[in-house]
Amino acid sequence: MILDIYKDSFEYAAKDWKTLIVLGVFCLLSFLLIPIFLITGYIYRVVDNAVHGVINGRDPLPEFNDIVDMFIDGVKVVIVQIVYLIVPIIIFLIFAAIASSLNNAIGAVIMMLGCLISIIVGIICCLMTQMGICHMAYNDGAFSKAFEIREIKEVIDEIGWFNCIITYLGLIIITVSIASVVTIIIGLIFTILGFSGAILGSATAGGMMAAATGGIFILGMLMNIFVSMFIVGPYLSIFNYRSIGLLYTMQI
């Protein structure tokens, strides 16, 4: 079942390369602040499509129409994420305050305990955030539904905590491996180009070619940034959120 989710999401995210480019442009313009929310708004639409769809259904990628709604949805998603993020931070701060007031071995133990607890709470909150966004999308964007912790817990219970965590781990592994593999491949290509240029160049004119080699390395770095911004990044985020949305539909 989980593999089906991954397969569907892989295909889904690769449906239209233009979408990836548009998202990449938003990412490039994100210093203007509003495009950040447009990206999250688009991701919200992906989740919305997924929770109302079925695995291996032929859903099209969402369109870039109705920018204002997209912006509002994006802000909602960001607010949900921030609110859930605050919980582990507050727990950590409380423990830190207690530990710093004790200031001895017990304080250190409490600090360790606090770190552990806040990491666990953070993981749970992360799960809750994703499911909360899905739950919000499922209930036609009703903002309060993102914080109905009991309902969200029931949803996760029905899917099974084990399934959820396994899916998450899989997503993290896939994301990290794809991103690193692409980066390494591009890096390798440009390193080979650079070195071969340097070897060829040393035979003719040393100084000039050394500068060119440096240029090739920098070009490789730029290439890496652009590929990850325009293709890999958008692809992986659509993939991730599609998977989570489909995971939400797995409840019986």
Binding site: L33, F37, D69, F71, I72, V75, G141, F143, S144
Partner: protein, 272 residues
């Protein structure tokens, strides 16, 4: 309407329905902006004159050049009248929003706009008087614990302004001035919508406003940088920014806010 946040996205789209009327409102805002800028300039001039009068720390009215005072007074009156027109327009925006009318109001009847603006202004003033009095009393009378009084007055400001939104809509819907102070009816309508929902939708609107203003600020910063490279004059840059602000940003934001206020009220009475 599936979600209450649809009010906000509706509000963001609404001013763009009729850009021409928005620009007319923008002209009013620009005039008022420029006048305020002028008053600021004149004030600077007055202070400069005061600073030149040496030896006397005591403030004497006769020392101010009379011409400047007359200009400042005249400009203040004009800008007040213009802001009344703007407020009157906002009044009608709320009215249209309650009636779910998706057109922007006309500018035909200036007298009507003035009267409505006066009502809008009076209600806002009266709602803000109590916290202001508390603030002034706190700062002036109780010297030692004035921060407690400022916190209290801040909370009062928040409460009053949250109520003010509903009060304005309530007054505009019934078209009676005293309905703005019928606190029982206002709180009833808010509790029909739900207090949490009411407060969260207003907070959400403010967050959206903050994000938009921040983004516009970044864009304006770039624009002013470009102008600064071309023209090395702070006054010119400031005036260009004022005109952009008054012509496009302020009318949009004010119509957006008032549309959302009206929509919240509409949702509240719909749930009844």
């Amino acid at each position: 309407m599936a979600s209450i946040t649809d009010c906000v996205s509706e509000g963001l789209k609404y001013p763009l329905n009729d850009v021409k009327k928005l620009l007319i409102l923008g002209v009013f805002f620009t005039i008022s902006n420029i006048i305020l800028f002028g008053i600021f300039e004149e004030n600077l001039h007055v202070f400069r004159v005061l600073a030149l009068v040496k030896g006397t720390l005591s403030f004497r009215f006769s020392q101010i050049p009379p011409n400047d005072i007359y200009i400042i007074a005249a400009l203040t009156v004009i800008s007040f009248i213009i802001s009344l027109i703007i407020l009157g327009y906002q009044y009608i925006v709320i009215k249209f929003s309650i009636d779910a009318n998706n057109n922007l109001p006309e500018f035909g009847d200036i007298a009507n706009l003035l009267v409505n603006g006066l009502k809008y202004f009076a209600v806002s003033l009266i709602y803000n008087i109590i916290p202001t009095i508390v603030l002034i009393a706190g700062v002036e009378l109780i010297q030692d614990v004035d921060y407690i009084m400022s916190i209290i007055s801040f909370i009062l400001f928040l409460i009053c302004n949250f109520l003010l939104i509903m009060a304005l809509a309530n007054m505009i819907d019934s078209n009676e001035f005293k309905k703005a102070f019928d606190l029982k009816e206002i709180t009833d309508k808010i509790s029909k919508l739900g207090w949490v929902k009411y407060i969260s939708i207003i907070l959400f609107t403010i967050i959206i406003y903050g994000i938009i203003m921040l983004a516009l600020g970044i864009i304006l910063m770039f624009i002013s940088m470009f102008i600064a490279v071309a023209i090395n004059q702070a006054m010119i840059i400031a005036s260009i920014l004022l005109i952009i602000d008054g012509l496009f940003i302020m009318p949009y934001i004010s119509v957006f806010f008032n549309k959302v206020y009206g929509s919240i009220y509409r949702e509240a009475i719909k749930n009844a």
